[in-house]
């Protein structure tokens, strides 16, 4: 049975918790990551922004049109370019906190330009593949992926 005295005790604990709560909230906001825009991420890794990339239909990006979970989105990139002309392949997800996903360095021993992995997507955004050629030119192709539940929790 709850007496009046007990009730006051519980109420007292609640009041203390309420006072302490604002501090905890501001702390968790402090840990929020800073979002890097796709433009900045491209500049950091490639030296140029979106305008420096050339759309190319030689690159083939395979990803689902609708991904149920953003935590696990299969992406496959292949290109109709001889591997000895390619220096590296970059994958970016435009809307992620850090859009850069991975860089793949190729060598002639690869035989073909091909890479597959599974990535995280925060929300609906294009998945962008950029290929850096040995002559310095940058080719790109992207595929829009709709995400129902984000995966950068």
């Amino acid at each position: 049975m709850i007496t009046r005295r007990d009730l006051f005790k519980v109420a007292g604990v609640g009041a203390v918790a309420l006072v302490a709560a604002p501090g905890a909230v501001s702390q968790s906001f402090g840990a929020k990551p800073k979002k890097i825009s796709i433009e900045d991420a491209l500049k950091e890794h490639l030296g140029v922004g979106l305008s420096g990339l050339k759309e190319s239909n030689l690159i083939n990006v395979k990803a689902p049109t609708i991904a149920e979970s953003g935590a696990n989105v299969p992406v496959q990139v292949s290109a109709n370019i001889p591997v000895d002309q390619v220096q590296a392949l970059y994958i970016f997800a435009d809307a992620n906190f850090n859009p850069w996903i991975t860089t793949v360095e190729f060598s002639p021993m690869n035989g073909e330009v091909f890479f597959a992995t599974r990535i995280k997507l925060a929300k609906t955004s294009p998945v962008r593949a950029v290929i850096k050629m040995k002559d310095g030119s940058l080719l790109t192709a992207s595929k829009e992926v709709k995400v129902t539940v984000g995966g950068c929790g």
Partner: protein, 110 residues
Amino acid sequence: MARLGRAIVRVPRRISKGQVFKVQMVITHPMETGFRKDKKTGKVIPAHYITKVEFLFNGKKVTTLHTGPGISKNPYFAVKMKATESGTLTIKYEDNKGGKWEKTVKVNVS
């Protein structure tokens, strides 16, 4: 995680000379971004992810992957390779906390 850093690598059993084949691998790794919070304690889980994966065939570099926390948990990677001779494929990988692992597989080319 007791099995942290374990990997499974798959190559075709029979490869003919000059054929381009697929190498697939899965690493057991949490791939924490450093942004996620523990729901019970409210503390931020520190970042812990694979940073580099190197594929070497008979000691020669085939592919190097530089990866960030944008790769899914228990990462899967697939690359293609062209083999002209039999040998061993060594895969070296490391994470941002200093963990280093190595995995070797035999490649039989007939």
